[in-house]
C-alpha cells in the first residue's frame, strides 16, 4: 500500500466519521466538531489529489494546496460563526439544544416582523 493510498483511505474514514457524527449527535457543539472532522477529510483528499498528480508525472501539483488553504480559512470562519451563535444561544436560554420546534399556536407571539 503506497503512502498516497493510506492517506486516501484516511480521508475517506474521516469523511465517514464526520458524516456519522453530524447526523447522529443531537448536541450542536458535537455537530460542529463533526463538521470539522468531515472538512478535514475533504482537505486531506485535496492533499492526496495533489500528490496523486505527482505520481502521474505532473510534479507536485500546487493548485490543490492553494485550494486547501482557502478551504481551511472558510472552515475556520464557519466554525467561528457557529460557535458564536451557540454561545449566544446558551446565554439566552441556558441550554444549547436545537431539538424543540417551538410551539406554533400557544404562548407569546413568536419573533419576526
Amino acid at each position: 500500500m503506497t503512502a498516497v493510498r493510506v492517506f486516501g483511505v484516511c480521508a475517506a474514514l474521516a469523511v465517514g466519521l464526520g458524516l456519522y457524527g453530524l447526523i447522529t449527535n443531537p448536541q450542536p457543539l458535537r455537530k460542529i466538531i463533526a463538521f470539522n472532522i468531515l472538512g478535514s477529510g475533504v482537505f486531506l483528499l485535496f492533499g492526496v489529489i495533489g500528490r496523486h498528480g505527482a505520481a502521474a508525472g505532473v510534479g507536485n501539483d500546487p493548485v490543490p494546496q492553494a485550494l486547501v488553504i482557502t478551504g481551511v480559512v472558510v472552515a475556520f470562519a464557519a466554525t467561528a460563526l457557529a460557535i458564536a451563535l451557540l454561545l449566544q444561544l446558551f446565554q439566552r436560554t441556558g441550554s444549547a439544544t436545537l431539538c424543540n420546534d417551538a410551539p406554533r399556536s400557544a404562548g407569546p407571539d413568536p419573533p419576526g416582523g
Binding site: 469523511v15 464526520g18 458524516l19 453530524l22 447526523i23 447522529t24 443531537p26 450542536p28 455537530k31 460542529i32 463538521f35 468531515l38 472538512g39 475533504v42 483528499l45 485535496f46 489529489i49 496523486h52 498528480g53 505532473v58 501539483d61 493548485v63 490543490p64 485550494l67 482557502t70 478551504g71 472558510v74 470562519a77 464557519a78 460563526l81 457557529a82 451563535l85 451557540l86 449566544q88 444561544l89 439566552r92 436560554t93 436545537l98 431539538c99 420546534d101 417551538a102 406554533r104 399556536s105 407571539d109 413568536p110 419573533p111 419576526g112 416582523g113
Partner: protein, 590 residues
Amino acid sequence: MPPPSPTLDATTSAGFLLVLSTVVPIAGVLLAFVLGGRYARSVASAVIPLGVTVTVAILIALPHSDGVIVYLLGAWPPPLGIALRADGLSAVMLAATAAVICAVAAFAAADFSAATGDTRTPFAFWILLLAIWAALNTIFLAGDLFTLYIALELLTFAAVPLVSLDGQAETLRAAMRYLLFALLGSVLYLLGTALLYALHGTLDVVLLSRRVSAEPAVLIAAALMTTGLLAKTALFPLHLWLPPAHAGAPSAASAILSGLVVKGSFFVIVRLWFDVMAGLPSFVAMQLLGALGAAAIVLGSIVALRQERLKLLIAYSTVAQIGYLFLMFPLALGAGKIESGGALAGGLVQAISHATAKAAMFMSAGSIYATLGQDRIAGLGGIGRILPISVLAFALSGLALMGLSPGAAYLAKALLLQAAAERGQWWWALVLQAGGFFTAAYVLLVLTYAMAPATEQVTLKKAVPRAGELAALALALCSLLLGLAPWRAYLPIPNGDVLDSLRLGAVAKMLIPLLGGAVLAVLLGRLELPFRISPSWNAMLAPVSLVRRASLASSALVERCDNVLRQWPTACICLLSLAAAFAAAMRIAF
C-alpha cells in the same frame, strides 16, 4: 482537445465591470467597518446606487460584446488563472438582484436607522445586506467551481446572521440549524469539486465542459455537488431549515433570504448542469429533480394552507415555489444532452419572478406585522382599510406569482409549457397548472381575511412609513410587468408566439386558476372563513363539508409528514440517499 476559444484567453473590453460589481459592495462593507455603526446606513445608501450603475453598465455592455464578458484575474488564463465571465444568465440575475436590494434598502431605511438608539442591529443589517450582494454577484459571474464554492460560503455566512438579527432564542436556533445544514451541503459540494479536479486537472467551467465524460467518478462528483446545492436551496425534502429561518427573521431580512439567497445556490445548479455537465447521460436524474420539484409544490402549498401565521405561510410558499424552479431540468433535456433553450429561459425567468414577487410579499407582510404587532392570519380583519397599499402590494405580488399576464411568471409558465409540449412530457404541464391553482389558493386565503371587516377593535402598535409600503408595491408591480422586459437580448427564448400572447385577453384565462384556487382554499384551509353562510345554504353545502373534512384530514397527514421530514436525522438521511439516488440514476443510460 480543441484549441481554447477566444472567450478563454483574453479579457474583453468591458471586463473591469465584472470586478467592480464585486468590489463595490465589498468596499462598502469595509468602509462601514472603518466609519462605525452610526454611518452604516449612509454608506449603504451611497454604495447601492454605485452598484446599480455597475449592473446597468454590464447589462448595456453585454449585447455589444457578443453576449459574453470575460475578465482574467491577473491576466492569467485558465486552467491556472481564474476567470470571471458574464453571459446572459448572469446579466438577468445581476439585474434582478440589484432591483430587490434597492427595494429592500428603501423598505428597511426607517427600521434600521441609527436614530433609533440601537446602533448594533442597523450596523449588522446594512453590512450583511452589502455582503450578500457581493456574494451573489460573485456567484453570477464566477467562471470556476472553486470560486463558486467561496462565493456560496460567503453568501451563507452573510445570510445566517440576518436570520438571528433580533437575537431571540428561537431565531438563534433557526440560524444554527440553517448554518449546520448549509455547511453539510457545502462540504458535499467541495467533495465533488475535489473529485472533478482529480480527474480533469481544472475547475474552470468552460475547460471542464470540454473534458467531462460519463466516468463513474464524474457521476459521483455530479451527484454530490447537486445534492449539496439542493440542501442549500432547500428543495423538498431538504427544507428543514427554511420555514423557521425565513419566518423568524425581520421582514426586510426575510425578503432578502427568500427572494435572493436561495437563488444563489439554484444558479450554481443551473451552471453545473447547463454548462459543465450538459453532456452527461441524465434522463432519469433530471426526472428525479423534476419529481422532487413537483413534490415540493404539492407539500409546500398544502402545508402553507394550514399555517396560522402569515410569515410562515409565505415561507412555505417559498418551499413550493422553489419546487417550481426545478421543473426546468427535465424539460431542458434534448437528445442525450441538456440544451440551453426555452426551458432554461423559462426557469431563469421564473427565478426572477419569484425573487421580486416574494420579496414584495415579505415586505408587505412586514408592514402588516409591524402595524398589528402580530401576524395571525385569523386576526388580519380590517387590515385592508388600515394599510391599503401593503394589502394591494401583497395581492399584486400574489397575482404575479400565480402567473397573471403580463407577469414574469406568466412568461416563464408559457416557456415551460411550450418546452413540455416539444419534449412530449405532458406530466410536467399538469404540475405547472396545478402549481398555479395552489398559489391562487393561499393568496386568496390571506386576502379573504385581510379584506374582511375587523371583528374587534384593532389596536395599532406602530405607524409604518409610507416609503416602505411603496417600495413593496413598486417591487410587486415590477414583477407583474416583467413579462414585457427585453428578455430576448439575454436569454435563449425560442421564436414563436410566446411573447405575442402577452395580451390582456389572457387575463380571462386567469379566472380558471383563481376559481380552482378558491375551491382548494375552502377545502384545505384550516381556518374558519371570516364570513357567515346563511342557514338556507347549509343544507345544500352538507356534501361539501363532508369533502372538506376528508381533505382536511389528508392535509393534516401531509403536515405530519412534513414535521417528520424536518427532523435533523431524517433530513440528513434524505440528503445522503438523494446523493446515492442521483449517482445511480445517472448510471442508467438513456
